[in-house]
């Protein structure tokens, strides 16, 4: 990059830049900022304005460091490394500057830490302790006052007195969402962050604001006075609200979920969550849950609570009876989209190998000819495209964080993003978008046929076309990869016989052709079928349900075994691009029964297939054995299916 590069005697020409920070030799790629180089070397430099996802502005002046041969202190967050640079972060001069900045920052900052939601996880508090002066020399006068605790929306509260004007929220709206809702107003010591005429925020990404704010100026209204960080238990999880697979930290207090916080995965969420996902806290704290195994007799036989072993035994007996009497085709197997890969692996084996039915699914719609080719483009690769075509509104409506990635691709990588209305034909599109190096096509799975048509048309006039299909539900993609659908086995291998899809299974049950239903956390799926679902539940002779929700399925089940909500179990789920992501137990289970994998193994054993693994890790080993793409993917990587199967 620079002409000085490599001129230092003895410098290794590895394309990197060598510098020294606090006596430590560091080699970093050209263009790296001193702050990043120091962080990599394990040297802490305090910052407020600098943010890993935003461009440097160097306004807080907290990161000033001594750079030899430069007369003034330099902001580490905005200074690019150069060969032979010598940086000191521990000099008296630096220490004094830091102390001085903190004195300035605290001049007009209220002393309301005890009632500030940020207390305990506040950079101003932390750095003031670590680098700040013991007291302020400001004589007792009025601080600059602003209106406190102003609601910016139903989600966000603003306290301008706490604001240190780091510009992060402004840059967030500028650089990350492009919505420009929060701006700086006024100037000098009277500067505030504000919306136009105080109008409420409209963004569906507001929840990120308190996380980019380094202090307690922007806070979550729903989290107001809820907890202190030291009272929280934190587990790594994946947001369950769509198939995008945003990584989250699941923060609980006293066995209650209190908030989802972002957990940066640059390949997926890039540390941003949508409000739909972030504020989906309440549903995980619902107290109405299926808590005990239950047996119901047909007719007026009534119901009784049983031990789980008896419930499993009875489930096996009843399913076997249907199979014996009506054949395996009289059994349908359904699961919800919050089923983990491990559960799905066992469930589809149970259906096919033990029960012998081909009628299994995780959704109502049919996707004939589903091929891995629909999933060739990864989320982060959108930035590598030269053009991106987004078909209709649905992809971004289903997976809102996708919009932020598209904006980033547009802004940072100059990718041209075309949002295509329903009316535009594939041919017209091919007229408009041609000669591109790589076209990304983003389509919702409900419109996958149009996606295929558009991709084919674009492939003829562009160098390469790759598709990203937005699947439905947190593990809609994994359930397809694992063959939890008719017609395709694990890994998209064609199934030997034709099977019914979700809707057809319910129709067959309503018609009396399917006599037994095995339902794994499928209440939402059955409910989505509306009246058809109700008829199916009424007519089916045997309903074996593993279920968390108190709903129609639990009410109709002949054998009911309590299930576990996603946050209550471990395993993995696969996002729409095919990334296999681990989830960990964050909440204690609502019932005493074993996890679903164990229940499925018990059921298999009771049906004559003993020895199946039941613990998550063991199931996962078997899963990876069966599905090489997942073995290669491991945890957190993409499952790639090289062979497209017709």
């Amino acid at each position: 990059m620079t002409d000085t590069n490599g001129t230092t005697p003895g410098a290794v020409d590895d394309g990197r830049v060598g510098l020294e920070i606090d006596g430590r030799a560091v080699r970093v790629p050209p263009g790296t900022l001193v702050w990043d180089a120091a962080t990599r070397a394990g040297i802490h430099i305090p910052v407020y304005c600098a943010h890993p996802k935003m461009e440097p502005v160097a306004v807080c002046r907290m990161c000033l460091v001594t750079v030899e041969k430069m007369p003034k202190l330099q902001p580490a967050c905005a200074t690019v490394v150069s060969e032979g640079m010598v940086v000191h972060t521990q000099t008296d001069q630096v220490a004094k500057a830091r102390e001085g900045m903190l004195e300035f920052l605290l001049l007009n900052h209220p002393l309301d830490c005890p009632v500030c939601d940020r207390g305990g996880e506040c950079d101003l508090q932390d750095f003031a302790f670590r680098y700040g002066p013991e007291s302020s020399r400001m004589p007792i006068t009025d601080k600059v006052h602003f209106e406190k605790a102003v609601p910016l929306s139903d989600r966000i509260e603003l306290d301008n007195e706490r604001c240190i004007l780091c510009w992060r929220c402004v840059r967030y709206y500028d650089e990350i969402t492009g919505e420009k809702e929060i701006v700086l107003q006024e100037r000098g010591v009277g500067t505030v962050v504000a919306t136009f005429e105080g109008r409420p925020l409209q963004s569906e990404f507001q929840g990120n604001l308190p996380e980019v704010c380094p202090v307690g100026a922007l806070t979550h209204r729903q989290y107001r006075f809820v907890a202190r960080p030291w009272d929280l238990q934190r587990a790594k999880g994946v947001c369950a609200e769509c198939s995008y697979g945003c990584n989250v930290n699941v923060d609980t207090r006293d066995f209650e979920l209190v908030r989802f916080a972002s957990r940066d995965n640059p390949l997926v969420d890039d540390m941003w969550l949508c409000d739909r996902g972030r504020y989906s806290v309440a549903r995980w704290n619902q107290t109405a849950r299926v808590r005990r195994p239950l047996l119901r007799q047909s007719g007026a036989g009534g119901e009784r609570e049983v031990a789980v072993a008896e419930a499993v035994h009875e489930a096996a007996r009843r399913l076997a009876a249907v199979k014996d009497t009506h054949g395996a085709t009289a059994i349908g197997v359904l699961c919800g989209v919050e089923t983990t890969n491990q559960e799905a692996y066992l469930l589809q084996r149970l259906a096919r190998e033990v029960l012998g039915t081909q009628h299994l699914d995780h959704q109502l719609e049919t996707f004939p000819g589903l091929r891995p080719a629909e999933h060739e483009l990864a989320i982060a690769e959108l930035e590598e495209c030269s053009a991106v075509v987004v078909l209709g509104d649905r992809p971004e409506a289903e997976a809102p964080v996708l919009r932020l990635r598209l904006f980033k691709a547009q802004r940072r990588a100059a990718v041209s993003v075309h949002r295509v209305a329903a009316g535009e034909t594939a041919a017209a599109l091919a007229q408009r978008i041609r000669g591109e190096r790589l076209v990304g096509v983003v389509v919702d799975e409900a419109e996958r046929e149009r996606g295929a048509e558009v991709s084919a048309a674009l492939a003829a006039v562009n160098s390469a076309v790759r598709r990203l299909t937005i699947t439905r539900g947190v593990n809609g993609r994994g359930l397809k990869d694992l063959g939890m659908l008719p017609g395709l086995l694990t890994g998209y291998e064609p199934a030997p016989g034709a099977g019914k899809n979700g809707r057809e299974i319910l129709e067959a049950a309503a018609d009396g052709q399917v006599k037994a239903l095995l339902l794994l956390n499928a209440d939402a799926l059955v409910a989505a079928a509306g009246e058809l679902g109700e008829r199916a539940l009424r007519r089916a002779e045997v309903i074996v349900a593993v279920e968390t929700q108190v709903g129609a399925v639990a009410a109709a089940a002949s054998v009911l075994i309590p299930g576990h909500a996603l946050l209550e179990k471990a395993g993995s789920v696969t996002n729409c691009e095919g990334r296999v992501q681990r989830i960990r137990q964050a909440l204690p289970p609502a019932s005493q029964t074993p996890p679903e994998t164990r229940v499925l193994a018990m059921l298999a054993a009771a049906l004559g297939a003993p020895g199946w693994p039941g613990e998550t890790m063991a199931v996962n080993r078997a899963l990876m054995e069966a599905l090489p793409a997942y073995r290669q993917a491991g945890n957190g990587a993409l499952a790639r299916f090289a062979v497209a199967v017709a």
């Binding site: 907290m62 500057a97 900045m101 004195e103 300035f104 020399r137 400001m138 010591v189």
Partner: protein, 434 residues
Amino acid sequence: MAEYKLLLKDVGTPELWRLDSYEGVGGYQALREALRKYTPDEVVEEVKRSGLRGRGGAGFPTGTKWSFLPKDVFPRYLCINADESETGCFKDRYLIDENPHQIIEGTLLAAYALRVEVAFIYIRGEYFDQRLLLERCVEEARAAGYIGRSILGSDFSCDLIVHGGAGAYICGEETALIDSLEGLRGQPRLKPPFPAVKGLYGQPTVVNNVETVATLPHIVQRGGEWFATNLGADRSSGTRVFCASGHIERPGVYEIELVKTTGREFLDDLCGGVWKGRALKAYQPGGGSMQVLLPEHLDLPMDMDVYAKAGSSLGAGGMMFMDETTCLVDVSLRLVDFYRHESCGKCVPCREGTYFESTLMHRLEAGVATREELAALSDICDNMDGKCFCPLGDTATWFVMSAYKAFRDEFEAHCGAGGCPVRSAPAVAALVNA
């Protein structure tokens, strides 16, 4: 001694602001000549040869600044900085009022030299009549073929837009000016990239002061060599237009040759000396940002480098004189308040530091500050100086710190005095400036 009138030579010509009047005194001849005789690069060379240094305050050599533009990157932009807002400076306003076409001609010469097709004159909002005047003159010049397509039949085309600010000192900082011109809050930009590489609309941009470009017609007409050898000397070539203010008999605008004039000559011969027969206590050259100097410095030649060595600067051409009755704490307070008012709020040390400074200075002038507060003041200034995002915050400390150093007793006398010991009780003035 007398003035040397180069930029002001035609002042007094009736209705000089009219095009025909300006042409009558040789106006636009330099532009005609340049288009006929010189390539753009030759104009750059001529300016380099003249040794002309920017008149906006920093004194950077104009030709060198121009040569930082990357070759073959177009379009390029030229912004003439008429945002003059430095305390004690009013020369740009005077130049506009008295000879607007000279500035327009100079702008066009710079635009020609730099191959710029759209140039701007950014004029501060408070110069309302001056903006209207410039707009009117630009239209006149456009109608006469000096501005627009194929100027005077050459292949040089240039549009000139007069852009009015709306009240922000910081827009005189060149990157803030560019942001303001782009329609943003006028706040300084992170450098690098420098404007010469990535300025207005992300394109190579030069920002020059009004007086700097007003000098160009003279350099082009009489040659860089003439300018460098005949006017001023060494690294301070040419004339400068100074703004005399404060306790003097004849405040106003005076153009002098650099180096060949001393401060004393400037004060006594041009400004009529200190008013009311009083003695001089201190003066501030350069404008409100610069350090205070004492009567003993008056004998130094008005040379940019000499003044820098004396711990101050000729800056943007202010010369503010203070007589023996002046309270330096009061003057410091006004200047500090100015910076608090004009801080853009971007960086912490300037935004909060100027507020802190101002609070302490008000207490000091009111005679209620303690000695600890006075000690804190200089430490706070140290925590600002050199640590701010742009020079505004740094310079907010310069006058007060230099005054504190030079008039330490006077500052200390304010501590706990219950009022200003200088202004309210002139007798106390005897104890200061000993």
